[in-house]
Structures are given as structure tokens and as C-alpha cells.
């Protein structure tokens, strides 16, 4: 497993049976997501849609309308239960490795890390949208310190995300960051950023590609979770990159106005509340420098208007503690950012860059279609 996902010196190395279990979970999720999951669409067409239409005298108008009928269908029920179990098993399988190696990983991260910097704030309140339940079922979430100088949340994320993404996010799980860097370099090639901010940086897997792409810039990563940031700092040093990490709530940053040339986030907003999203967008408009650009990758809108596809795309809301995925889709994020004074706010398309071949579609719906293809990026600029 370590070779397949590009190990670095800070990442715990699984023993034989731990790696075998982690590989099993990858296989299970591939099977559940692509083989069984492809059946959900066909089951819908064969029996759920006809029954719905008979009962209501019309077809469904939204994904949420299908919730009752789909969760009562035995095939979907069984698939959904398997998929939920597989998500729990991701974390359980990697926690074995993290727990066993915890003392040495903590000691490694606590040793002097010469590149970049780390600023923690033990008094920072953890907002309810992080603390009330564990996002994507990761036990302890991003923020819980389970020992002194804890790094467990970071290591668990670093080992778990490759399983979740079926090893399609490149070595060191940096595909999201590589994708966003490519977007900036192709769409804004003239930009010479001095300071770059990555919001919700977790382990820095999306942050480090910016360090590579803009060697003259100062790179900053912000996150709520201290154990993630300690791990990120050690991970960046192991990979030879300099980043300034700080534990902050993106809703209230301590950076001055007009400070960053680039502000980026990947998969941040669907894990924050509606109010938090509004606050974070305000902060971005404040800290962005005139002439700067902000871009975000997240599930801002449904990938399809077909109700069954929309429904399957919302599986994570009810089954993976991603409650705000639906909230985010209802927000007019373009309008909000325009009202905050950003210029040229829109969605651009950019290719999702993963080094692995795209999986061919076996069906439609949740995960069955394989690769992302082009993704939507929310973009805004601050006028000079």
C-alpha cells in the first residue's frame, strides 16, 4: 500500500496484515461503488420510477423526492448498508497502523521541523459543524487531540483518503492540488503570486503542489485541526517543502486585509454550515489582494438534473455525515461572492488531473461512472 500511494518519511508504514486489510477495503469499495452501485440506477428505472409515477401521477422532480422510495427498495437498502460499512472500515483499517506507530510518529512530528512554520491556538473554539458529529465518519474528526502533540487525525486522513478515493488521487493524494494549480497556471498564467492561502488544508496534500508551482511565493495553510496541522508540518518537511501552517477558523482569519494573491480551497465548504460558508466567503474577499484570484473546488451544484442521479449524489448526506453537502447546493455562491465585491465571479471548467486511467462507465449514478472528467471551479477576482 505504501508504494502505491507514494510514501513519505512522515507517513506511518503498515505491517503486512494491516496493509492487506486496507487493500481489502479498497477492493470492497471498488466492488460496492462500481459493480453493485451501478445497479441502483437500473433498479430505479425498473421498479422505483414506475411505482412512483403510478402513485403520484407524475415523475419525480428532485432527488430528495426519491428518498423514501429508494430507501425502501431492498436492492438499494442492501447496497447502501454495504457502502456505509465500507466507509467505516476505511478508518478502522488505517487506525490499526496509526495507533501502533503513534509514539514514534508523534515524536517525529514534535522534533524540530526547519522548513516553514506551525502556529497552533489551543484556545480556538471548534465550531459545532465539526464537533457535533464526525465528518465522513472519521473517528475523532479533524480536531480531537487524543494525546499530547497528537498527529493521529492527520495520519488517519493521510492513510484513509487514498482508500476512499480508490487510489485515484495520485501519489501523496495531491490530485486536487495539482488540478487547482493547473487551473491557475492555464487560466491565469500572468499571475506572479507572492502569498498563497489554502483554506481547510488538513494534511497539506492540496497545499504542497502550490509550493512546487510557485517557488517564489510564501505558502500558507489554515485548518481547525491541531493534529492535522502538526502532521502537515512534519509531512511538508519530509517532502522538502516550506509552508506556514496555522490553526484558525476560516470564518475569522487573523491575516490583514489585501494580503494574498491566491486564496484556494478544495472540498472545504461542503463540510461547513451555511453561516460559516457566508463568513468564509467574506473573509476571502477581505484578505484577497487587489489583482488577486480566488478559486474553489467543491460540490457546489448537482452534477445532473436527473432526479435519480441527484439522489445518488446525495448519498453522503444521510450516510456519511456530510450534512452540509445539500446545504451548499442550495446556496447561490456566485451571487454571494459578487455581493462581497469580487469581480468576474463564475464557474470555470478545468480537467481533474489524476495520473491513473479513468474507469469506464458501467452504469450511471454514484461512483458508477468512474472518473471526474472536467470539474467546476468557483472563481472570483479582486479588482485592482
Amino acid at each position: 500500500m505504501a508504494e502505491r500511494i507514494g510514501a513519505h518519511a512522515a507517513r506511518p508504514v503498515p505491517l503486512h496484515d494491516e496493509a492487506a486489510r486496507q487493500e481489502f477495503v479498497v477492493s470492497l469499495r471498488q466492488y460496492s461503488g462500481r459493480v453493485l452501485g451501478a445497479g441502483n440506477y437500473h433498479v430505479y428505472k425498473a421498479r422505483v420510477e414506475p411505482a412512483f409515477t403510478r402513485a403520484k401521477g407524475r415523475g419525480p422532480q428532485s432527488g430528495m423526492e426519491l428518498r423514501e422510495a429508494m430507501t425502501a427498495d431492498p436492492f438499494y437498502q442492501f447496497w447502501s448498508a454495504i457502502h456505509r460499512n465500507s466507509q467505516e472500515m476505511i478508518w478502522d483499517s488505517v487506525i490499526d497502523t496509526v495507533e501502533r506507530t503513534l509514539p514514534e510518529t508523534v515524536a517525529m512530528a514534535a522534533a524540530p521541523q526547519p522548513l516553514g512554520s506551525l502556529r497552533l491556538d489551543p484556545a480556538l473554539p471548534i465550531p459545532r459543524y465539526n464537533s457535533v458529529y464526525d465528518i465522513h465518519l472519521q473517528p475523532g474528526g479533524y480536531h480531537t487531540d487524543q494525546c499530547e502533540n497528537d498527529i493521529a487525525a492527520g495520519a488517519i486522513y493521510d492513510l484513509g483518503v487514498p482508500i476512499y478515493s480508490l487510489q485515484r488521487m495520485n501519489s501523496n493524494t495531491n490530485a486536487n492540488g495539482v488540478t487547482m494549480v493547473h487551473y491557475f497556471q492555464t487560466r491565469y498564467p500572468q499571475l506572479r503570486p507572492l502569498r498563497i492561502l489554502d483554506l481547510g488544508c488538513t494534511t497539506g496534500n492540496t497545499t504542497l503542489p502550490f509550493a512546487d508551482a510557485y517557488p517564489d511565493a510564501e505558502i500558507y495553510g489554515v485548518d481547525l485541526g491541531a493534529p492535522c496541522l502538526r502532521y502537515a508540518h512534519a509531512r511538508a518537511n519530509a517532502l522538502g517543502k516550506s509552508v506556514h501552517w496555522s490553526q484558525q477558523n476560516a470564518e475569522a482569519l487573523d491575516f490583514p486585509d489585501d494580503h494574498f494573491d491566491i486564496v484556494v480551497s478544495t472540498l472545504l465548504f461542503h463540510e461547513t454550515s451555511r453561516t460559516a460558508t457566508l463568513n468564509i466567503f467574506s473573509e476571502i474577499a477581505r484578505v484577497l489582494r487587489p489583482g488577486g484570484v480566488t478559486a474553489h473546488f467543491d460540490g457546489f451544484h448537482a452534477r445532473s438534473s436527473e432526479p435519480i442521479i441527484e439522489f445518488l449524489g446525495l448519498w453522503e448526506v444521510d450516510n456519511n455525515n456530510e450534512k452540509f453537502l445539500l446545504t451548499l447546493k442550495k446556496m447561490d455562491v456566485v451571487g454571494i461572492n459578487a455581493q462581497n465585491g469580487l469581480a468576474n465571479v463564475r464557474f470555470d471548467q478545468t480537467p481533474y488531473l489524476t495520473g491513473l486511467p479513468q474507469v469506464s462507465a458501467k452504469g450511471k449514478g454514484y461512483m458508477a461512472g468512474g472518473g471526474f472528467g472536467d470539474i467546476d471551479v468557483l472563481v472570483g477576482e479582486k479588482a485592482l
Binding site: A20, L28, I95, V132, P139, E148
Partner: protein
């Protein structure tokens, strides 16, 4: 409260409500058991595969030797006894049910004999 890292057991259960997927919660539990068992089997199979490869590399015997191994009668008898004990454990709920039924049958026979 923090503990020394030597004794830390990390959290295993995520906070938040777990959906019930089936009408009977026992079914949810059984599915979890089955999936975990498949995982255990998968890990064991991988380990066996590793052992065979390392043994072959070390020149002790080959995987072909394993494929063509035919146990003799003594080994087969031992294995059959092990399988029977395993099946008894796997089906112990049914065995208990059967014991209860047979106890009742025995009671009936005794009563009939005493009439």
C-alpha cells in the same frame, strides 16, 4: 485528558447517528459481521500467499507442492474433526434449538412410558 503515547487507544467509533438500513436491526449487525468476516478471510488469504512466496524464495518447497499436496487418511481425519467442531460452533444457535426440541421429545417419551 491526555495519556502518554505508549498507552493510547485511538477512537474507533465516529460520532453521529448511524442509520438503520433494515427493518430488523439484527440484520444490520449481521451484515457488518459478514463484511468483517470477508475482510478477515481476505487478510488471511493474503498472508498465506505471502508465506508461500517467501517459502518458495527460500527454496524450502514450491507453491506447486502446495497445489499438488494430497493429505493422507490421518490428516484428512484430523481435518474432518476440526471442520465438524467448526460447523458446530458456527451453527450453535441451531444446535441449541435442536437440544431444546430433543429434550422435549425425551420428556414426552418418558411421560408416555409412565402412563
Amino acid at each position: 485528558m491526555t495519556e502518554t503515547t505508549e498507552t493510547v487507544r485511538l477512537q474507533r467509533v465516529p460520532k453521529g447517528p448511524k442509520p438503520q438500513y433494515f427493518a430488523d436491526p439484527a440484520t444490520d449487525k449481521l451484515l457488518t459481521m459478514v463484511l468483517e468476516l470477508i475482510g478477515e478471510l481476505s487478510v488471511a488469504r493474503d498472508r498465506i500467499d505471502t508465506l508461500e512466496r517467501l517459502i518458495e524464495q527460500a527454496g524450502l518447497f514450491t507453491m506447486a507442492d502446495v497445489d499438488t499436496y494430497l493429505p493422507d487418511e490421518a490428516v484428512n481425519t484430523q481435518r474432518a474433526e476440526r471442520r465438524a467442531r467448526m460447523l458446530s460452533r458456527v451453527f450453535r444457535a441451531s444446535e441449541k434449538e435442536l437440544d431444546t426440541i430433543m429434550d422435549k421429545v425425551a420428556e414426552q417419551e418418558i411421560e408416555t412410558a409412565l402412563d
